[in-house]
């Protein structure tokens, strides 16, 4: 039973809260000889694997370190270009470290605003009248549950597909939101949520649910 994250999206589609709960870190370090048997490319200011999967290094993984030196953009800390380094046979063997790209806060905000039209189009394209937006979205690695309140705020939980009872959890998060966010005199609506009490209570709730299921909440 794993819950990966909780997101709250305001009525106008902005991300007002996000909490990463248990995101597994996928990292692989491996020594390579010349020539490289995987294809790397530079996109979105990151060096990513574009072809060739082996030993847990998959397409889309980001190069994070070369011989223990951190990669920033396409350069090493000392200003050397990584692609130039990889083309020189005498610099090998090299130990390269790859990890699955983690979402930055900016990307999260971007994704939250992307979910908003998806939600709306899903209800527009409905073959049945008076349909809600997306409630559950399932992929092979996770399941996303979305609960929209009457006031238009969306609570989104990303969890493992086998995790049950998320609907109850979502309502409990809503309750916490009502108790600790809306009753906070320093909170203005539609703005990012920075309430310590809310975060601590949410954290406890998520841990409880993971440990003993939703029966306890």
């Amino acid at each position: 039973m794993v819950i990966y994250g909780v997101y709250i999206v305001s009525k106008s589609g902005g991300l007002i809260f996000n909490h990463d709960h248990n995101v597994p870190r996928i990292e692989n370090e491996k020594t390579f000889n010349y020539p490289l048997d995987i294809k790397l490319s530079y996109e979105n200011k990151k060096i990513v694997v574009s072809f060739g999967q082996k030993d847990g290094i998959n397409v889309g993984h980001v190069l994070t370190a070369v011989n223990g030196n951190v990669v920033i953009g396409r350069e090493l800390e000392n200003g050397k270009d990584v692609f130039e380094l990889l083309e020189q046979p005498d610099s090998f063997p090299l130990s390269l470290k790859f990890s699955r790209a983690r979402m930055t806060t900016n990307e999260k905000i971007f994704l939250a605003s992307m979910f908003y039209p998806l939600f709306a189009i899903a209800s527009q394209l409905s073959p049945e009248p008076r349909c809600s937006g997306i409630e559950i979205l399932e992929a092979d690695t996770f399941r996303l549950h979305c609960y929209q309140t009457l006031t238009g705020i969306k609570f989104i939980v990303v969890a493992e597909s086998s995790q049950s009872g998320i609907e109850i959890l979502l309502k409990r998060v809503y309750e916490l939101y009502g108790d600790y966010v809306l009753k906070n005199p320093f909170y203005s609506l539609e703005m990012p949520i920075r309430c310590e009490l809310f975060e601590t209570n949410l954290q406890t709730l998520l841990e409880n649910v993971e440990k003993s299921g939703t029966g306890s909440v």
Binding site: P24, E107, I121, P127, E128, C131, L137, A139, D140, T141
Partner: protein, 145 residues
């Protein structure tokens, strides 16, 4: 259990085939516009799922569910996309889509030299077979309206 409608998209987003059985709500836009909207939504969902997924996705997006219907999605490695809307009680719609690909699309479109790939499917035989497959399926039970 009901099957509402079916879309087949090519890898570059052309609507190859559309069929509907029980559809109460017309979206109020033309079929072409609707197909573009649908493809755009699926394209966004795919990239959304790729980014938000905590682990490396293999098949990626499988389905989404709203209060009234479920959209099942099946994509072949060649980029062909099958989209089926059913009600929420329907199970195993994915197998049905795989069956549609294997037994109907491959047999009556790919093996038909007169069918141009990546263009809307005109074959009457294909239409007939799709209809047959879905009406035979246990998911297909039209309600009395």
């Amino acid at each position: 259990m009901t099957i509402h409608n079916l879309y087949i998209f090519s890898k570059n987003g052309t609507l190859l085939y559309y069929a509907e059985w029980n559809r109460l709500n017309k979206s109020g836009i033309t079929k072409e516009e609707e197909a573009k909207l649908m493809y755009g939504m699926l394209f966004s969902i795919k990239s959304f799922v790729n980014k938000i997924s905590p682990l490396d996705p293999k098949e990626g997006f499988l389905y989404y569910k709203t209060s009234k219907y479920t959209l099942h999605y099946f994509e072949t490695p060649s980029g062909l996309k099958f989209v089926l809307n059913t009600d929420n009680a329907s199970q195993n719609a994915r197998e049905l889509l795989q069956q549609l690909y294997r037994d109907v699309y491959l047999e009556y479109v790919v093996k038909n030299p007169l069918c141009q790939l990546n263009e809307p499917i005109q074959s009457e035989l294909f239409k007939l077979k799709v209809d047959e497959l879905f009406k035979k399926s246990p998911l297909f039970l039209s309600r009395a309206i």
